[in-house]
Symmetry: C4
Subunit: 212 residues, 4 copies
């Protein structure tokens, strides 16, 4: 339960920051704020739950053998509940900002480039998580949260214009709930993100082996 | 006395940076500068006073048992004196910047969304402080200042448009002194911030227990 | 092979981020995103390959004696393949961003200032790499990736307007492939970058000696 | 000699970045790039020379007893030579950027607010340096360069509009050489910066005592 509450809190603040910065006037600084909030929540929750805040990360970490498959479903439920609740709270706050509004119609992106952008960003994210937060050869480092958060910042600046830059099924659920991305995008989000988590886990196992 | 001087210095530079960046032309970079100055002052003062610079953090840390209630009043006095003095010095400096001015009328935000924004930002801040700076399982880390400072950056980009983004009663006193926020906002500031500090301390105790 | 795959992945994401942020609308934030992606890939790959992602770094690190000359050719091949592939994938993605396009004609900069800018940026980068990632007196630190990544961010903001700011022969190959820099610039890129790597290695040896 | 070369290199890149970002089109991102280059040079040179790159820091660190007064004059000479040479190289590069130019007339700021801004920024910087880089209670940390660099970023965003934001006599020499600040400002720079270094050293000694 302690782990699930931590996953809920971290994912809640990640999605809240996305909804409020993108629609509330943070403009070009939104990806920086989003990566920053992920970073701080990873540092805050890492010692409790591992700080996934992302079903694709949970899948990648379980494939690598650093978390247990039996906990995965409840991790993902906590992440999705946090994301959807944050979308609703974020919408309420945006509607109370003078001059700000939520998007009237949710955009739909083309499947192939959108799926590719989500694949690439999620691959980078899971690759960074596995290498910086689950190995003995990097254990005890102080940079894992910085690395994980700024992967999202960098990929959001780079790939966000193609697909919105979710790289995370819980974030996808949050932005669809908030009307910031079309329901029709859900296929591209899930295919790209899960394929990336699996491939990143295999690439990690190839370069690192089965060491702790 | 050494602790109180450190709290005074850190809170002074935090509020000074807020007043001068927001009114002096830093524009969209202000939240980055504000989080940065909090970060550097946390790193500078952490080994002396714990580097709270925020009465809500002092309350949360005392509830968690990582500081003594008997010191709390003087911590808060030092923070408030630093904040008010910084507001006055900051105003003087802004009035000496060509083309810059202090706001003529202080804005008042709606109570419920403003209080909610202050609650959420302060909850995130106290949650990050307790997990990164007061536990044995994360002790000796080099990231606590980065995490604490960038929590404020992320929340200021996200929630600042709703309530101004104080997340700190001393900052609230500073921005009201400088005429950047209405006196009528003081209720929303205090209710949201103190409720968040208490709830974050309980959430922390639930997930971490009474371990050191 | 594990090292070469790691070099391929890191250089791929570095060049992908360059192509997509510069042409896809990230504007003034592009150098921040580029330094961030280098930082996270350095943290992810450092324990596998040393995380060079740059033939000039490979030359500098080999001159310092911290990698083997026999591996250098395959490191450089992996870096160049990653860079060229990323340029093509990046172009495809940019062409799928509404309102974005790749440059119609690649610019050519003046040889002397362009070569000097590339020399200075690459010198700073190799100097930082050798001092933060190859010495016993700084070993075990958690800042090497942050330092390496933000060297590129700082130099791109400063020197990018002169030469484009590659500081890396693989990046030069990538931006020329993507049509973002003229083929005629290749001489200035290579002369400035390789001279800087050699000089930085000698400056490092002078100040640090032959210690581990 | 190894220490002086390191001080020369670090101060050179600090002033080069200032001249090229401020005049070359980095706009609102200049303070971020300037703090970043200071950070990376502190991390690169800290284990060799202590990485002062600033005569006011050299004075503060000597007053604290963490460097030797006999080395101070050559430290300051190396810093000033690096700064002036960087100003000249930076000017040359700016004149080779399309659409960029060096300022035609150097501005003079009012003595009292300008001196106060330089005092405050330099006090923050020396306070952070002494607490994060010269004490046993924080030794071995990985954050000192981040804290030192981002102090300059935060203060430049906040106080730069008042005085230009040098906080460093070598930087003052560099920006005056480059024509970016008036010769008449030299008094305000030196009085504010040296007074701050002395006061920060005394404040540090008061809170930390004479411990190592």
């Amino acid at each position: 339960m302690k782990k699930y509450l931590t996953e809920f809190i971290g994912t809640f603040f990640l999605v809240l920051t996305i909804v409020v910065t993108v629609n509330g006037g943070a403009g070009a600084m939104a990806p920086l704020a989003i990566g920053a909030v992920l970073m701080v929540m990873v540092y805050a929750g890492g010692h409790i739950s591992g700080a996934h805040y992302n079903p694709a990360v949970t899948v990648g970490v379980c494939l690598r053998g650093a978390c247990s498959w039996s906990e995965a479903p409840m991790y993902i439920v906590a992440q999705l509940v946090g994301a959807v609740l944050a979308a609703l709270v974020g919408e309420y706050l945006v509607l109370n900002i003078a001059g700000a509004s939520m998007p009237a119609t949710a955009g739909t992106f083309s499947f192939v480039p959108g799926m590719l952008a989500e694949f690439l960003g999620t691959f980078a994210l899971v690759w960074v998580v596995l290498n910086t937060a689950t190995t003995k050869s990097t254990s005890g480092n102080s940079y894992y949260g910085l690395a994980i958060g700024l992967t999202v910042t960098a990929c959001a600046y780079g790939l966000g214009a193609v697909s919105g830059g979710a790289f995370n099924p819980a974030v996808a659920a949050g932005v669809i709930t908030a009307g910031m991305s079309g329901v029709a995008n859900i296929g591209a989000f899930l295919v790209g993100q899960i394929a990336a988590a699996v491939l990143a886990a295999f690439a990690f196992k190839f370069v690192y082996g089965d060491r702790d």
